[in-house]
């Protein structure tokens, strides 16, 4: 927020850019046979939830990649190691930026709008589960961020690997029903992409699936595993001359 123009421009850009995804989905949906088991309002809700998740995620983590690449290459990572904290916590905390608040607002608007249009009545249990899923999605994403930071420490400059992970995460942007049976189950349990947008939407639509709890548990396992790898990599850090 130190550069005011950049900040305000960033908000507007994220606001417009975030319209593209839902619009695109809407066209696919209306021009084809759609997704099995989903009507157009439900898909719009799905998109709203996805955008809300992306908005929160980017607010927390959007800055991490650039920051991490800079500090590791120039050896500035040193100063993180001089603070009485886990450096990964400082790195993740340092990525915070309000630029994607536009995405979040757009997501929330679409979400609230579709809930009211569909006249959904939502119980306390559903709200709790919804927030659990949202947390699960963020935890799942955190594991990717931590893993990428670890790879950066080892390879010093590997921005493209980060791209790979970003692409893989696109699996989370579609309802589970579009995938073949085995893949669908795998995405709910082994690599729980579905915890990001699919499960929370299902929760609000009152179509709760027990696999949700697997997904949540596996997300935590992912994070713990990535933290383990991170700690191993820290020993290999070589700093930069000077």
């Amino acid at each position: 927020m130190q550069y005011r123009f950049d900040f305000i421009a960033g908000i507007f850009i994220s606001l417009f850019a975030s319209c593209v995804g839902p619009l695109f989905q809407y066209f696919i949906f209306t021009q084809t046979k759609g997704y099995p088991g989903w009507n157009v309002r439900q898909i719009v809700l799905f998109q709203g939830i996805l955008l809300t998740y992306v908005g929160i995620r980017d607010m927390i983590y959007a800055g991490v990649r650039g920051q991490m690449m800079g500090i590791v290459r120039k050896g500035d990572f040193d100063r993180y190691l001089l603070k009485p904290f886990q450096p990964i916590v400082l790195i993740l905390a340092g990525g915070f930026s309000l630029n994607s608040i536009g995405t979040l607002l757009m997501g929330l608007t679409i979400m609230v709008y579709s809930i009211s249009v569909m006249g959904l009545s939502i119980s306390i249990l559903q709200i709790i589960l919804f927030f659990l899923c949202l947390m699960g999605g963020l935890i799942f994403y955190s594991s990717f961020v931590v893993l990428n930071c670890a790879i950066l420490i080892m390879t010093v400059n590997s921005g493209r690997i980060w791209d790979v992970f970003d692409s893989i995460l696109k699996f989370a942007e579609y309802p589970a029903e579009i995938f073949p049976k085995a893949t669908r189950v795998a995405f709910m349990t082994v690599v729980p992409f579905m915890v990001i947008a699919y499960f929370p939407t299902q929760v609000l639509l009152d179509r709760i699936d027990v696999k949700l709890f697997y997904a949540l548990a596996v997300s935590v396992v992912f994070l713990l595993a990535s933290l383990g790898i991170w700690n191993k990599c820290l020993k290999r850090y070589t700093s930069a001359g000077g």
């Binding site: 130190q2 550069y3 050896g75 040193d78 100063r79 190691l81 001089l82 020993k235 000077g242």
Partner: protein, 330 residues
Amino acid sequence: MENIIKVESLNRSFKVTKREKAGLIYSIKSLFKREFIKVSAVADVSFSIKKGEIRGLIGPNGAGKSTIIKIISGILYPSSGAVTVMGYTPWLQRQEYVKNIGVVFGQKSQLAWDLPAIDTFQLNKKLYHIPDEIYEKNIEYFKELLSLEEVIKKPVRQLSLGERMKCELVCALLHEPPLIYLDEPTIGLDIISKQIIRDFIKRINKEKKTTFILTTHDMDDIEDLCEKVIIINKGTIVYNGELEKLKALFSKKKVIDVKFLHPVSPDTLESFKIVSKDTQSAKLEVNLEETNLQDEIYRIFDLLPVYDIDISSIDIEEVIKEIYTEHIPC
């Protein structure tokens, strides 16, 4: 006094990639086949430092000074060897250990670039759990001592190097650590700023009994601040002891600076040991163990057209230069 730092047979090597030649073809080649060489940055280094000392760590670029600082401050893992600082093994108990140290890297900033320094101070207050009254007291004290009243409110990127370095020092000292590492704290500063930083270090050392480990290329820093120095070259310690003793080693040598009335031919200078010369002047070295000063000066007046003459002891810069270039073993 008890030891605050104890380092025993410390080693650290790095794997470095080697490329034969510059250019696109060679860079593509190195994509497929890379040669690694193992470089030993620190080799079998042992020393200890007492509480309350200001110890200088000097050596040419690439000697391994920064690597040593990075290992004993917990940033890097060593390849082998033992380090104990205040009872901690830095890289293993890093998180606990770093609460008790402060570090300033002259070439890297700890301050948030876009924010005023006071914001970084606030962050450090939170990170180190500094109690309110101690934080306020220290900020006031440093503001007064380094005249930082206005400086700490400006974004760091708008500060001069000297102002920034003062803020870096404050940043490292806020949590009142008993041990501070300064890696080239005066690099790039003007004489006045350097003096302010030195006086500040001396004062903190005196008032708070803080131990300082200091690396620098400026011999004035060393002469002003340190009683003992460690000289490092090519990863090993070549001298460890009193600065005065080091000077004493060379007190038998004098440098005589002679300016000529008119240019002299090189052969007239042949019988002298020349440090440097041009057509109008020459620097001659005299070893008092071999001859005495009087004879030597008579000889100079005898043989050379003297316009001006200046006799001085060999200065510490020369001593260090000799050690760096390995002319003398210590």
